[in-house]
């Protein structure tokens, strides 16, 4: 067996190009996913049966199907319903948004329900209405509890983007397979690929742990 460091260096710029898209999918997808998660998460805490059921159906459908299936469904099947095509970047972003939205919804629900009941009662007993109590008392405390699981979701979604090679999105993993098809340096290129994912996830994990300590949420 021969390990050609040379091949790693040569393929690095290509993979770096793909990393931009990996980050793009993760960041834009999660921003949208957070918006979805907050809306669906509130739905999951709603007293209104219809809102609650709709939110629950969403969460169960998304959590019950693989993100790979969601991505190919959005890219290949959804256009037949919509009547127009989505490019691979739109489809990838949508897949992360819709998928993370379901998981973030559960994070939001758990964080809101985790705020002690006495906090709501104290707010209401002072004459604050439901919305004010949520806005000034529950949400700030819930948000703090959401930060660690949101960080975890960021890492999960980042790794999920590697599946978008199936819809031809030029993220890091697809780039690696393209390079390998040309130079056959499987060991070097795929090792580099793994290292490049780690170069993103390890700093994130460390930052997250220190943030958790500073926020003092366990």
């Amino acid at each position: 067996m021969e390990f050609e460091v040379q091949a790693m260096f040569k393929s690095f710029p290509f993979l770096l190009e793909g990393m931009k898209w990996t980050i793009y999918f993760t960041v834009t997808g999660l921003i949208l996913g957070f918006a979805i998660g907050v809306i669906i998460g509130f739905g999951r805490t709603a007293k209104n049966k219809l809102l609650f059921s709709a939110a629950t159906v969403y969460v169960e459908i998304i959590r019950g199907t693989p993100i790979l299936v969601q991505a190919i469904w959005i890219y290949y099947a959804l256009p037949e319903l919509l009547g127009f095509n989505l490019n691979e970047f739109m489809a990838g972003t949508a897949a992360i948004a819709i998928n993370s939205g379901a998981y973030i919804a559960e994070v939001v629900r758990g964080a809101i329900q985790g705020v002690p009941k006495g906090q709501r009662e104290a707010g209401r007993s002072l004459g604050l209405n439901h919305f004010q109590t949520m806005r000034y008392i529950i949400w700030p405390q819930a948000f703090k509890r959401m930060i660690p699981p949101l960080g975890n979701q960021f890492i999960i979604s980042l790794k999920d983007t590697s599946l978008f090679s199936v819809i031809g999105a030029a993220e890091m993993t697809l780039k690696a397979t393209v390079v390998v098809a040309a130079n056959f340096s499987y060991l070097e290129v795929y090792s580099l690929l793994a290292l490049m994912y780690l170069s993103l996830t390890i700093p994130l994990t460390i930052a997250l742990r220190s943030l958790e300590r500073r926020l003092d949420v366990s």
């Binding site: 006495g118 906090q119 104290a122 002072l126 004459g127 405390q141």
Partner: protein, 242 residues
Amino acid sequence: MNIIQVTDLHKSFGDLEVLKGITEEIKEGEVVCVIGPSGSGKSTFLRCLNMLEEITAGEVLVDGFNLIDPKIDINEVRAETGMVFQHFNLFPHMTALENVMLAPAKVRGISKEEAKTAGLAMLEKVGLSDKAYVYPDNLSGGQKQRVAIARALAMNPKVMLFDEPTSALDPELVGEVLEVMKDLAKEGMTMVVVTHEMGFAREVGDRVLFMDEGIIVEQDLPEKLFSDPKNDRTKEFLRKIL
């Protein structure tokens, strides 16, 4: 004038009937202490007075508002009734002063500056001017409860409801909270106090209600109820607790 008028109040949680017909009048400026064994419905009674619990049947009038009338603005009524909880329920993400300022600013709509001035005055009243910028986590239990009292008072309520305000405190911290409550009583605040502090009830209370199994079994002037209870259940409870 009766600031609180309760007529045949019933409250159930599912099949469990917790309040079984309570009729009671509380006059403006009165200090009424509620005693009774655990589980007898004291907290539930108090919580019905500001609609933290939905009323199952009967009628509750607070400051002329009929709580079961769906047309009233319940937030308006709650703004007139301060509530102090056993476990303080301070907002942990806000300083003592912010805790006190929140409702006046958001519910009454007064300016931040006004709310701050009033908030500092309230903290001074409970002896905590020096803790204005401290977070609840860094306050003792007694200090937390005094902030909670200041927070309720900042709304200028007409009635103050206390649900075992000293039960969660270390014994050496009970006194400072009771002092604040005594001062309030002296100023003429209408107070309904669920408490196990018989000394407080005797000294400050105008009346004591003894509750058991969802009804008011007996009520009287404190000295009378404590020295000469009529009902057997009252006698037994007092024998255990005194």
